[in-house]
Symmetry: C2
Subunit: 324 residues, 2 copies
């Protein structure tokens, strides 16, 4: 049970450790008969290569990290799940970090790169970073253009929101409200509010808006506030799916009927598979594609390739039962 190393395999098989290493890494330049013998020895000895030796020597780890504010949230959970799947398929391990309970995690992820624990990271950052801290590091940002250097992946927030609001107008909605969690920092997500305001202005509609910074998991407060402040709107746009179920239930319990009395559209369109079919009309983000793209871009950066700084992916308008 003493740990067996590549040296033991070399000795027992009668070959040099270079050759053993080549067999392990799948190097083509090894004679078939040699490979077979070495493979047999590996089996006999129950040899398992130690990754830390390899990582030290090769100068990369085959590990990436993903940072999200929270994991128990439909969008982030789905995103991380997709990413884990892709990373696994491509032979990468995935380290998970959540930042809402501990801001420090955003720093941690940078340090993990510097100390060679990971080759790079994909993050949904909510805090500020100095350029000097992030420049040159293999990073991909979701929804946020950090410093015009770190590439980011997002959805077409502006256009999608604009279309949604215009759709509401086309159905005859007169008093259209907006409920949104304001990002801690400048981000693509802020374009949802901008699109809303732009359309309101264009049509000479009065905006009814509650848009504040709250933590994930506390979106309900905004909804309650909105309903109290603007009890008589006839349509609501919710920027973020996490509150849409709550909004829906709230109006139902007030005796309002969808879509006759009130309409609702939410961004994200993540509905938990254990709930009923999509009830709320929503702008569905291409989460899987976002995960694929951000992974691909990160790997390209790691491999020194050129990458696009901006990647905006198309959302899908999914009609549910909350709009006319």
């Amino acid at each position: 049970m003493a740990k067996v190393t590549i040296n033991d395999v070399a000795k027992k098989s009668g070959y040099g450790l270079g050759t053993v290493s080549r067999v392990i890494s799948g190097d083509k330049s090894v004679k078939d008969s040699t490979r077979e013998k070495i493979l047999k020895t590996i089996e006999e000895l129950h040899y398992v290569p130690n990754v830390n030796g390899a990582r030290l020597r090769k100068k990369h780890s085959g590990v990436i990290a993903v940072l999200v504010p929270v994991i128990n949230h439909p969008f982030f959970a789905e995103f991380v799940e997709c990413l884990e799947h892709i990373a696994g398929k491509e032979g990468y391990s995935l380290i998970l970090l959540t930042s809402q309970m501990d801001e420090q995690k955003e720093e941690d992820i940078l340090w993990k790169i510097r100390k060679k624990e990971i080759d790079g990271a994909i993050f949904v950052t909510h805090y500020e970073h100095k350029n000097e801290d992030i420049n040159g590091l293999p990073l991909v940002s979701i929804d946020r253009h950090l410093n015009h250097v770190v590439p980011f992946v997002s959805s077409n927030n502006y256009e999608a929101t604009k279309e949604a609001i215009e759709y509401l107008i086309s159905t005859g909605a007169k008093k259209i409200g907006f409920i949104g969690t304001k990002p801690f920092v400048e981000s693509e997500v802020t374009l949802r509010e901008k699109a809303y305001l732009d359309v309101m202005k264009e049509h000479n509609y009065t905006p009814y808006i509650v848009y504040e910074v709250v933590k994930h998991g506390e979106e309900k407060e905004l909804v309650d506030k909105f309903i109290e402040k603007y009890p008589d709107v006839d349509a609501v746009f919710a920027s973020g799916s996490s509150s849409s179920t709550y909004i829906y239930n709230k109006y139902v319990s007030m005796g309002k009927k969808f879509p006759e009395d009130i309409q609702l559209i939410s961004y994200d369109g993540v509905f938990n598979s254990w709930e009923d079919a999509p009830i709320v009309t929503s702008i569905e983000q291409p989460i899987k594609e976002m995960a694929e793209q951000s992974f691909k871009i990160l790997i390209d950066i790691i491999n020194g390739k050129e990458v696009n700084q901006i990647t905006l992916l198309k959302t899908k308008f999914v009609k549910g039962k909350t709009t006319k």
Copy 2:
């Protein structure tokens, strides 16, 4: 920008690399004035220790892994989130693996231990493992006694379910149904069905049960099947919270009133924070404590300490609006 190593720090500061290493690791035996000088040099050089050198030498990685079937599920998401928080606080990195899309991940996690990528793992295993594959590895299982060697952490499934069913009986329920996802393998979770059947028998009640193996995310099928098969029950016990919202909505849409016409209790009691307050009466698992315990046990194993093979944590009965 050439990478700076511990040697550079030693040279520039005028000390040996052993001393530099001691400063980095916080060894007390270094003179204060020496420490300061070396710290200053580290700063000047922007030196960041390479973990792979240390890991190779120290023979452990400071990384653990968690494996769950899926992450986009209230129980697992919450569990992983708690675990990530604890691991981070204790200086461990956490690798995430999800197995439902790819069974192979369960093997992967074992290999990661053998190749020294991680020091150990906590897993919610759904597949079979040979004893020879897992014995001696630092593992903690959730909800499942794999082989009477791997320690496991679970909740008091049997007692909690028994109490819940008896509660339903005490309120006058006569036709009590059970909807559950059957685990792929023997597990503590199977005790929920056993408790249900035991109570039914004891009271001479007829059991109405739908209990089948389905994937996470496909629990709805069981619900639909149950309702079709037993349309006239007056109480339902759902083993697993993931379908309780669906069950609730389903009966409501059928025109039934909770708790007058039908009662509902679900195991888990995870409700998403973005939904309304707990509506469904539930048996709430102490997820945070389960994460803490499994982490602690894993670290103890890694450090060669003795650990209990069985850890059953107490659930909490949370009365909602779906029971009398």
